[in-house]
Point group: C2
Chain length 265, copies 2
């Protein structure tokens, strides 16, 4: 933790008391993504793992699908710019890419009512996890959330197997935190089949579609899902666990992957 | 509460127990805004106050500035469409409007490093509020958050004077909740000078700029601000209060508007 937070002077009022003190706040960093020399978007993010964020964003928006489509990535941390050069072959020429991006609502709330619209395949993985493993993993997840503990102002996301956390990221945006995980997977060749994603944020349709595109069979959150998140999880074969707190788990879809504790020990 | 939530069957796992039960989740509704017959954006939102959301969104994005620029609003709740017709006069022709919207990153994280870039005037209001009034108002704010209590999955926003809540809205998106408030102000001719905004969400630069555009002198949140939110509040003369919980308030900028309890009684 360093770059992602800033110390500032504040006035703390408690009852009748006024005290000058210091507080730690999360930094908010504007990152502009330039795709094939054309400015695409400016994201507000936590200034770490910028390369992973850019690639994860492009993947989530359907602008890249595989690592070998990427020709070059240049990160200018000073100016807040990531330049990505991708192959413009076959159906996905530059104009197509930008047209698709812009007509889909600029990546801001592209709406899918059903799994068919989303053009994502159903997840067939038979992976199972016990309630004890879920609770232990969520506890480890919370312990890892350093910036959250310092600032109260960021989201976290993690990629796990059924036993431990493999990748972890924090960001002021819940979408960014998940995009950083999948950007890292894509660039470093880390497989996501049979894996589990934990997020601190709510599970909306957009988050659900992000994990579905990476064929994640289980998504876990401390927070609430939306109705559309639940519906898509049901249709896409994804186990959706919400409000995982203390020793309680709400299973909103495909609860058959959650087995009794002795079965996986 | 009705349209905004949905009852669904879930499996609740507690310790070794598995129980089928019901849960209430927030609905996520795709709303497409069509401006002067051209599709602009699809927002995912809670399906109430759609007209206010559309107008508040257009205001926040700088596509409209005053009520008299609006010629017609048609809401199709069934299909999730709001059509807005605005005057195309002077500098703001249709092409200009769309070009500006799209080049600013499609409303997704337009980045302003300083108050100058944002082209928003400094708020000069001399309004004051006591710590007791702040705490009482935040308590009332939390009591009003019906959908949050039912689902745990939405944000709230309110417009207040120093004594009570004037307008209140809830939405699955923290931006939408604030946009609904300002859309209502714009359409119903409700003044916002000298008013206070409370939000359940984090205060990022984008939220701060939304309230600055409506000349709000005080913004209050239960959650954290970002460094850019604090910097813009300082530059724009806005009192920023965060982490308002129990009897504690953190004042991040312009704390002179918070006075001792006896001064305002």
């Amino acid at each position: 933790m360093g770059n992602e937070v800033e110390n500032i002077s504040i006035l703390r009022l408690t009852g009748g008391d006024r005290k000058n003190t210091e507080d730690v706040v999360a930094r908010e960093f504007p990152l502009t993504i330039i795709l094939n020399n054309q400015e695409l978007v400016t994201l507000l993010c936590s200034p770490v793992k910028l390369k992973y964020l850019a690639i994860g964003f492009l993947f989530s928006e359907g602008l890249i699908n595989r690592q070998d489509e990427i020709r070059q990535i240049t990160v200018d941390e000073q100016r807040g710019i990531v330049r990505v050069a991708i192959k413009e072959s076959g159906a996905v020429g530059r104009d197509t890419v930008f047209k698709r991006f812009i007509t889909s609502g600029c990546g801001r709330g592209a709406a899918f009512y059903s799994a068919d619209d989303a053009r994502v395949e159903k997840v067939e993985s038979r992976v199972e996890i016990s309630t004890r493993q879920v609770l232990a993993m969520v506890k480890e997840f919370q312990n890892r959330s350093e910036i959250y503990r310092a600032t109260g102002g960021v989201h976290s996301a993690a990629l796990c197997d059924t036993k431990s956390i493999l990748l972890f990221s924090e960001d002021i945006g819940r979408h960014n935190a998940v995009d950083k995980i999948f950007g890292e997977c894509l660039l470093e060749g880390i497989p996501t089949d049979e894996r589990i994603v934990i997020t601190s944020g709510r599970i909306s349709s957009e988050i659900l579609l992000k994990v579905a595109k990476r064929r994640i069979p289980i998504i876990i959150s401390k927070s609430a899902p939306t109705d559309l998140g639940v519906r898509l999880a049901s249709e896409l074969g994804i186990t959706l666990l919400g409000f995982v707190r203390g020793n309680r788990i709400n299973a909103y879809a495909h609860d058959w992957r959650i087995v009794s504790d002795n079965k996986t020990d």
